[in-house]
């Protein structure tokens, strides 16, 4: 899952990136509104976190511009503005959630997961066939056998399961699992897929990931 954080306060952006990357998210940071809007428009993010008071273009305006472009991407405000009017104003501008500073990191994390849930998902857990993934604890089970994965392997598997029954192209996988600093050599995906397949096979979930030749990969429910 790839996130964009638009935040001018380096300290906050810094710990957000550290903390979220530990949670296997790919995180990009923009320090002003203009840069943030550019990134939001060019890259395919899964969620955007915006501070209200940022240079160049205000967070509210960035949010409006993103919504104007027709995007339904989850947007969360993370701001020191804490009056009721501010919250209402932010939500009316098109945000999905509003978190006031100072906040607890765990709460932010939980709220991010809520925003990333699919419509037909009752809680955070993901599954495909006998495979079960818990994004909160980063545990993966095949039936009842736990599979130990590296962060990137986990992120890749999570992305594929979240988009199960859909073909995930290599470029989309790159966009959602790696951050902006990754150079777009897609062959690295094939390497990670090989690792993943081996680990799944050992646990008994053999043919879960299927290759669509020349396009990408797919995980099917059945």
């Amino acid at each position: 899952m790839r996130l964009l954080i638009i935040e001018d306060e380096a300290g906050i952006a810094g710990f957000l990136k550290d903390g979220l990357e530990e949670e296997y998210f790919a995180v990009d940071i923009a320090f002003d509104g203009k840069n943030g809007l550019d990134l939001a428009m060019t890259n395919d993010y899964d969620l955007i976190i915006i501070d209200w008071m940022i240079p160049a273009i205000s967070g509210i305006e960035v949010c409006r511009q993103i919504r104007k472009s027709g995007s339904l991407i989850p947007i969360m405000f993370l701001t020191a503005k804490d009056t009721l009017e501010d919250v209402l104003f932010g939500l009316e501008a098109g945000a999905n959630d509003y978190i006031k500073k100072p906040f607890a990191f765990e709460e932010l994390l939980a709220r991010i997961r809520v925003q990333l849930r699919n419509k037909n998902q009752s809680d955070d857990s993901l599954s495909a066939g006998t495979l079960n993934i818990n994004p909160g604890t980063h545990q993966v089970f095949c039936d009842s056998i736990e599979i130990t994965l590296t962060p990137k392997e986990f992120a890749l598997l999570e992305y594929l399961v979240r988009n199960k029954d859909k073909v995930c192209t290599r470029s989309r996988i790159i966009e959602h699992v790696w951050d902006i600093h990754f150079d777009s050599d897609t062959s690295v995906i094939d390497v990670y897929i090989t690792f993943l397949r081996r680990k799944l096979e050992n646990a008994g979930c053999g043919n879960l990931i299927q290759t669509i030749r020349g396009v990408g990969y797919i995980i099917r429910e059945s």
Binding site: A80, K81, F105
Partner: protein, 471 residues
């Protein structure tokens, strides 16, 4: 009682009082004119009697001299009565002679059994109203004097008042009955006019009632005429403008203060939260804790400045004004700032009067100078110079501090003394300030009656001028 009713009430009471006076005067004037005519008639009758009797009022000898004449009158009366039967009303007079004790000597026959009223001991002619047979008469009573001037008796002549009484009575009734009507009408009309003229006040009240602390944007509609109400509305509007402005600034200050306080708090809290989620290397703990300490120091500085500002703004600080040697104070401050200035290779130059004494609170003045100078260092390019000039203009001392820094745009100059205002709107902390330093300078200067001025040219530098009060 509403203002409208009060206006109407006072106006009506005053008018009613005046009308009552006018009515009374009018009534008595008419009455006196009417009676005067009757009195003249009586007079002419008396003189007629005297001339007929060949006497004057001052040579009375005997009542007998009038006898014939009164009998004549009686005859006349009978004749006329006879003639006038069935025709017009008889215009007749009554005559009565009395001695000075009031004993009736003689009287005209038309009086029949009646007597004319007598008022004893009168030395002059008097006119009174009385009645005979329930009809009003006007009578005159003339003293008859002998040659020695002693009153020997009186001649009383009376004429019927007839219509005059009815006229006067009617007039009185008209006045009495019209008075409440006029008063009531006046009250109603005045109330209406008063209501119309104070209608704009109701608008003012309605607008003011709609106003709340959060909604100060309402304004009173100004009336067309430039009268007192216009001025009242304009004054209230101006007051509201000021209130809204102050309220807005207060709101901005609170928002800024909470942003400035919450950001480092959020940074520290978040950093530590992320840090303790997982076991880490010793170096990473040390690095993160150092980082948090820096943030906390910054926060402590901000809290110090906020508290200082709060103390100065509540006016609880009394400056201890004394004579201060400006030059030595400047040297103390520049020496203290020397290490920071050295980092950027910035030099201080102090010019002008060497021995200049100003009246100020030394500690406060030191803080003012330190704030302005550290600002100057912050915004100056490396290797530039900061010039401090002390000069005398008229009777006041001026200390100006000029840097060669980036300058402040003209349109932002006025705001530099506002709390949390930073010319660099991005509020990023790379320059390290909170935008409170100059607000503190302004407050401190105000407390000591020092004027602070600022001029600036883009990319050439900024000059702050402190004008000290004349000694």
């Amino acid at each position: 009682m509403s203002l409208r009713n009060r206006i109407a009430f006072y106006y009506t009471v005053t008018s009613a009082f005046l009308i009552a006076i006018v009515f009374t005067i009018l009534y008595f004037m008419v009455q006196s004119i009417v009676y005067k005519q009757f009195d003249e008639e009586i007079n002419s009758e008396v003189s007629e009697i005297f001339s007929d009797a060949h006497v004057t009022s001052k040579d009375f000898t005997s009542f007998s001299r009038f006898k014939n004449f009164i009998d004549d009158k009686e005859v006349n009366y009978r004749e006329t009565k006879h003639e006038e039967k069935g025709t017009a009303k008889v215009d007749t007079e009554f005559i009565q002679l009395v001695d000075n004790n009031g004993l009736v000597i003689n009287k005209s026959a038309n009086l029949a059994r009646n007597f004319l009223a007598f008022i004893p001991a009168q030395t002059k002619t008097i006119y009174i109203n009385s009645s005979i047979n329930n009809s009003m008469i006007r009578q005159g009573q003339l003293p008859l004097l002998n040659k020695k001037g002693i009153i020997k008796g009186y001649i009383i002549v009376a004429v019927p008042l007839k219509n005059a009484v009815i006229v006067l009575h009617d007039l009185q009734n008209v006045f009495l009955f019209s008075f409440p009507g006029i008063t009531l009408t006046l009250f109603i009309v005045t109330r209406l006019i008063a209501g119309k003229s104070i209608a704009p006040i109701k608008k003012v009240i309605a607008t003011a009632e709609k106003m709340t602390q959060t909604n100060l944007s309402q304004r009173i509609e100004l009336p067309h005429h430039h009268d007192e109400l216009y001025r009242l509305s304009a004054t209230i509007n101006a007051l509201l403008d000021r209130m809204q402005d102050a309220f807005q600034r207060e709101k901005q200050f609170t928002a800024d203060a909470s942003h400035e306080l919450k950001t480092p708090l959020a940074v520290v809290k978040g950093t530590l939260e992320v840090l303790v989620r997982k076991p880490r290397e010793k170096e990473q703990y040390e690095y993160k804790i150092q980082f948090c300490l820096l943030e906390l120091n910054r926060m402590a500085r901000l809290i110090d400045q906020l508290l200082m500002l709060a103390r100065y703004e509540s006016n609880k600080m009394n400056p201890h004004i004394e004579a201060v040697w400006l030059r030595s104070l400047l040297e103390t401050v520049t020496v203290r700032l020397h290490p920071i200035a050295l980092d950027k290779e910035i030099g201080f130059k102090i010019n002008g009067i060497e021995k200049a004494a100003v009246t100020a609170d030394p500690a406060m003045l030191e803080m003012i100078l330190e704030n302005i100078l550290s600002n100057a260092i912050k915004y100056s390019p490396d290797g530039s110079a900061i010039t401090i000039t002390v000069e005398q203009k008229m009777r006041t001392l001026i200390c100006s501090i000029s840097d060669q820094g980036i300058g402040i745009p003209e349109e932002k100059l006025h705001a530099v003394f506002e709390r949390f205002y930073r010319v660099d709107e991005s509020r990023n902390s790379s320059t390290g300030g909170f935008g409170l330093g100059l607000s503190i300078v302004k407050r401190l200067a105000d407390l000591q009656k020092i004027k602070v001025g600022v001029t600036s040219a883009k990319n050439q530098g900024t000059t702050f001028a402190l004008t000290f009060p004349a000694t």
